[in-house]
């Protein structure tokens, strides 16, 4: 079975999930105890979570074609399918940005009217200092360039990969090494800028040089987990016969390794701020530790202790059923990580995880899976003419 069929049953499930999301939003709008600000905050959390998961598909394809790695080739189509949510994800983010700019919510405090005006009653000198960078036209310009370029490269990779199926040869393979080098340079800067613009600026007074890499590491792990879970599902349905325990082992190693990278970056940022304990920096962690004590530390434990305990052993990394259970846990751990990037800044101490947040998570998940499954069904599940395909098919590590 080389061609995946998107069954009606799965379609119905995903549409049901989307409807749950829509119903949640309608409920939120009608219920006067739910502020629209809360709905928009949740839209940013879920919008970025699934967008960044998808974007990692593109980035990982780029990393692997730049480094000429062979093992990944039989899984390339899964990465591609995940990445094809990037355009839709970009739209979900742009909707939030439009709403923020029109003051339908107050996620970005620096967008408030008069905040940089010395005569205004709520003038903020520090935000006024940042105005050359944090102003709507420049901010929008950066957002559109970044999202546009990311979407563009995602399409380029997909199109070239489909073309390679038809044409063969090594031209596309060598060409994509150059494309990837260029893309990765752009991405290394733009991902940092994006994290400042979209998340760090929520806590407009605060700053951290590490922030961009921290956000990126979270995105990386969510992407790897999504690809693994899809692979697991496809194998269970009898697809992807070429994928063996060694491929699963390697995906498991990435999930394990990147979890440690994430923890390392979390620790570096947290420890240095905690240790130096100076007012301009601790403002970020104080609400997170005081207002969200249990859930914040719980998030750290899930993202660090769970992979450490359960994925250290080779056996669990090669057993895809065990790996799947652990992956789902870490996946939600990283949803919580995104939640803590945004909520304490946007909602102060009022953030909660209730019907709105969970319902919308289902809605976005349904949309994401619908797009990804549709893309999976559009092309053969394994690429045909990649020069390293044979190496990947015979991938074997002990």
């Amino acid at each position: 079975m080389d061609q995946f069929t998107f069954t009606d049953k799965s379609k119905k499930i995903f549409i049901a999930l989307i409807l749950i999301g829509v119903a949640t939003i309608i409920y939120g709008v009608l219920d006067s105890s739910v502020s629209s600000h809360r709905i928009w905050t949740s839209a940013l959390i879920n919008g970025w979570f699934f967008f960044s998961t998808a974007m990692m598909g593109t980035v990982f394809i780029a990393i692997n074609s730049a480094s000429q790695s062979g093992w990944i080739v039989v899984l390339k189509r899964v990465f591609e399918a995940v990445s094809m949510y990037v355009p839709i994800g970009a739209i979900t983010l742009i909707l939030v940005f439009i709403a923020s700019s029109l003051h339908w919510n107050h996620i970005y405090h620096w967008m408030a009217e008069g905040i940089t005006d010395p005569n205004s009653s709520h003038y903020d000198a520090l935000i006024a200092h940042k105005e050359p960078y944090l102003n709507l036209p420049f901010w929008w310009g950066r957002a559109l360039v970044i999202l546009g370029t990311w979407v563009g490269f995602t399409y380029i990779y997909r199109r070239k990969s489909l073309k390679e199926d038809k044409e063969g040869g090594t031209k596309i393979y060598t060409g994509s090494m150059v494309t990837s080098a260029i893309f990765l340079v752009f991405f290394s800067y733009s991902s940092v800028v994006a994290s400042w613009d979209w998340f760090m600026s929520i806590d407009a007074h605060w700053f951290s040089t590490l922030y961009g890499w921290y956000v990126f590491s979270g995105m990386w792990i969510a992407g790897m987990i999504m690809v693994f879970l899809l692979t697991h599902y496809l194998m269970g349905k009898g697809y992807l016969k070429e994928v063996n325990a060694s491929h699963i082992h390697d995906l498991g190693k990435f999930i394990f390794g990147i979890s440690f990278l994430w923890t390392y970056l979390f620790f570096s940022q947290f420890m240095l701020i905690w240790y130096a304990n100076i007012p301009e920096e601790v403002t970020y962690y104080i609400p997170r530790l005081n207002d969200y004590t249990w859930s914040f530390w719980g998030m750290v434990i899930v993202n660090f202790v769970v992979p450490m305990l359960f994925l250290m052993s080779k056996t669990t990394k090669r057993n895809r059923n065990v790996l799947a259970v652990v992956s789902v846990i870490i996946f939600f751990g990283h949803w919580m990580d995104i939640y803590f990037l945004i909520t304490p800044g946007a909602m102060k101490a009022d953030g909660q995880i209730g019907i709105i947040e969970i319902g919308m998570l289902f809605g976005y998940l349904g949309l994401f899976l619908f797009v990804v499954f549709r893309e999976l069904s559009k092309a053969p599940l394994v690429v045909k003419n990649h020069p390293l395909l044979e190496e990947s098919k015979h991938h074997r590590i002990n």
Binding site: Q269, M271, L272, E390
Partner: protein, 461 residues
Amino acid sequence: MVKEAEVRVPLILGKDVTYHSITEDVCRPIEGKAGKLWWAMFSVAIVLAIWGTGMILYTIGRGIGVWGLNNTVDWAWDITNFVWWVGIGHAGTLISAVLLLFRQKWRMAINRSAEAMTIFAVIMAALFPGIHMGRIWLAYFVFPVPNQFGSLWVNFNSPLLWDVFAISTYFSVSFVFWYIGLIPDFATIRDRAKGPVAKKMYSLLSFGWTGNAMAWVRFEEVSLVLAGLATPLVFSVHSIVSMDFATSVIPGWHTTIFPPYFVAGAVFSGFAMVQTLLLVVRKVLHYEKYITIQHIEMMNRIITVTGSIVGVAYLSELFISWYSGVEYEGYAFLNRATGPYWWSYAIMMSANVISPQLFWFKKLRTSFVFSFFLSIIVNIGMWFERFVIIVTSLHRDYIPSNWSMFHPTFVDIGVYLGTIGIFFVLFLGFTRVFPVLALNELKSILKSSGEAYRDKDSDQH
């Protein structure tokens, strides 16, 4: 084992290379006599080493007042050299551990000399905290040992102490890793040795290696376990070195990006040093078949990638220093770029961020001469990076009446050049008595990636 893809470049050149000829090539420098070039380099190194040792003894005898330190700049070349050497010591373990985990076959030709370099570089680094204590005979105080002076313990809250632990752990694991890899190669030399003394020596060194299948299984398992242990160490060592600075509240030192940025910088400088040494080894020992242009190109790519990561970090820091709105932070960076030490900042930026970008041109990254030249530039640039971080952040602190400049004395310079001398004495000595290429590991890729076998037959080996 399946045939390697056509698009892969062979890693061992020459149609006539066999298992036997690899042994011959690797053992030749050990069994034969040194060439003129080797003696020339060794003489220069030994002169520097003797001079440096003299300067170190002079420092110990007179105290660190003989350095150019003053009340404001109370940490300068000593710690700069320390961080520089530790950074250089990163590449070896990265190549042996991380590239092993990523199954990079090209590491086989370079891992041995890179690991040796790591060991020697870490020794050079460890020298500096020792001598900059002033009273080196009290050096045991850095270890948390029970003592006779009441409850006098080291300060566990201090990153300087964490550094002692981090570096000693790193050194031990790197050393074990290096040695385990050497065991089968020592056995090969033992079996060929003619003189009774050499035979006895290599026999002791090879721990009675028999080369049976079980021994190889254990060898591979131990390599993997050590690689797993060493990988986090690659991160931890330089992260903790960065915390020596970042846990303080000195503008220019206290910034959250320091740990990962120091790690990237360390890998960057380490690869540059490996590149320098590899090109020397290739020339002096005639290893053109094994250290190919493909290896050099791969190294150059890693240098470009890590150099660019460092570039992202420099620019992030620069931007955030303005964005933060903190006056001191902003001034620290303005002073770096435009103050009296602007030239060191300019050297750092151009050598570390701009110069590696030249490797985007295939012609340059596949040129031996240019690669050698650029690796030296990067080594210089990375020394200046540490100088910029340390001296420019200190020399103008919160109180302008304290502002001062740093002027190195001949002792500062002598100690620094001396460590380079000692390092090269050790490294050149290594090339005479140790197998410089991991000969048994090289053999494991001969049939899959050697030009002699790869394209010959299509059936599975």
